[in-house]
Symmetry: C2
Subunit: 339 residues, 2 copies
């Protein structure tokens, strides 16, 4: 093709939140497509906390770690600019596992590539409300958490994309919804903009105490994105027969070596709790159906999601770092082209 492509390669395993020593931006010509390849000009790629895990050498993750020297993988949204796969044509809008790059070469027979509609008021919502985060929120609340109308629902990393959507889904069920976040700004966003009933700032508040005050009858469903001490604070405050939907264990992703499990694990037995882990690729095939259910809520303004957009592939690493440390609210995307 002769076209230049820049992409991030995992050169070394990152330490903590330092990505600039670990990832390198490589520029090279796009390869010739093979049969079965689809070439997507990335408009956006998504920055997700889970990617941090694959950067580590952990062998006990969902799937093997990203091999050193290979491109960092991420969900992309972009236009198909060349295709040697019969189901994809130039001009299609595609969401796919691609690379943190200008262009993604993806193989639909081997990895996730899906055509999505050009008919959406904000196409970026294909990477938020109507993408894996939205499906995770919806199914995490309704199926894995088995949340019932009127229950008390608590979510951690509540200003994260999945957390914020999960809280809004629970609100649509008529639940009392409490979000745990790491700043006042995030707490304000979820309560004032998204309609959560209350926010807890885990950096300033004693989480277990605040949960006890806010949930005097116990937590029916805890939607966990973080694990660690916040999971313990929730375990301590679960209602009998409560459910914990484990969507993420953010606090563990950059840890090496043995990590003690929740100190209040006994509560599983004492309160007859259920804990269920889930992972969005298991239900990507259900995305279109879930989207049909979420569409009316979205159109009524009940499923909101902002975007924190960074321009240019070269600015990826700082944006990724801020995913873990910053005060951004909304979905973090890197924009590399117009749609």
């Amino acid at each position: 093709m002769g076209e230049k492509n820049r992409y991030w390669v995992l050169a070394r395993r990152p330490v903590g939140n330092d990505y600039s020593s670990a990832l390198e931006l490589v520029e090279e010509e796009l390869p010739e497509l093979r049969d079965g390849d689809v070439l997507i000009r990335n408009a956006y790629f998504s920055l997700d906390a889970g990617t941090r895990m694959w950067m580590s050498a952990r062998e006990d993750s969902y799937s093997p770690p990203t091999p050193l020297g290979t491109p960092v993988i991420g969900m992309v949204l972009g236009e198909v600019v060349a295709s040697r796969h019969p189901d994809f044509r130039t001009g299609d809008l595609a969401r796919a596992y691609g690379q943190w790059s200008d262009y993604s070469v993806s193989r639909p027979e081997e990895t996730y590539v899906e055509r999505v509609s050009w008919q959406l008021d904000d196409l970026r919502q294909h990477l938020a409300v109507f993408g894996p985060n939205g499906w995770t929120a919806y199914l995490g609340v309704l199926e894995y958490g088995n949340t019932k109308p009127g229950e008390t629902f608590v979510v951690s990393a509540a200003a994260g994309v999945t957390g914020a959507l999960a809280g809004q889904v629970a609100k649509q069920l008529g639940c009392r919804v409490i979000g745990i976040t790491g700043s006042t700004a995030k707490g304000d966003w979820i309560t004032k903009e998204l309609g959560f009933d209350a926010a807890i700032n885990y950096k300033d508040d004693k989480v277990a105490e605040r949960l006890r005050e806010l949930c005097p009858d116990g937590i029916d469903v805890y939607f966990d994105n973080v694990g660690g001490p916040i999971l313990d604070a929730s375990l301590e405050n679960m209602a009998l027969f409560g459910r914990i939907a484990v969507c993420g264990l953010l606090l563990n992703y950059d840890q090496e070596g043995p990590i003690p499990g929740p100190y209040k694990f006994d509560q599983v037995l004492m309160k007859r709790l259920s804990i269920t882990g889930f992972f969005s690729p298991d239900f990507y095939h259900r995305g279109p159906d879930v989207n049909r259910h979420m569409r009316p809520w979205y159109e009524a303004g009940k499923l909101k999601m902002n975007f924190a957009v960074t321009q240019g592939v070269e600015n990826t690493l700082d944006a990724y770092r801020r995913l873990f440390t910053g005060d951004k609210v909304g979905k973090s995307l890197v924009q590399v082209a117009e749609l």
Copy 2:
């Protein structure tokens, strides 16, 4: 009545496995019955690991600890010898929450008391196969563990009553069943007498390694009675979408202070596991129905349970200690009268 009754009182909180410094045998005359009381002459009372938890001062248990100075509570089987409750008559056979004693005074409006049949080849099975242990095994396997025919099923404390019955129930479903026990004698019992496919001795074997060898495709269902390092060894070896039915956390019952949860807790997320705690009083009302399902297996000799019977209320404490340390197989009972 003028009749003497001896019963064990919790005088102090026990330390470790030392009960003789903590419990005292009191002898006094039976009190006059009040309206609503049923007087049972205990034939047997049951020694259960869970009782240890109530002896501790733990406030985060299923229910508050046994108050100091009050009788130790246990499941009893005996004949009703006096009743001031309309549903119970002299000569009934009753299973009830009673006391570790010669006689139990129980109030059916306030606690569990149930008439059971005199028609059973071994009446002691009312405290084993056809009692709470059996129901826990059956529902733990089928409902909480959601075990399917042909799956790989692992149970800890497999020579304990519930564990041994759970393994036999899983065998009836056509599962491959592996039991974890603490001695060769126990391992021999479950494999040679009860039909388990394999036994692991956690004192001699490296549990995680042996599980890896015995379950090359992973564990579909782990029925946990013990928690601690054996739970971790199992978590490490679960199959994708595996289920852990938490029936007991024996290793924690005599602990005070914070106990780290499973170090491999992350596997809940990585392998999309479910963990569910359960507790038999939640389903006592389902006992008769469960017994109907288990009866044909029992009659075909497929649900076996031995008894380790200690004679005399005065010999209770040593028998209780051996529940945790000994090499007994089968249900531990104290016999205080004939039936």
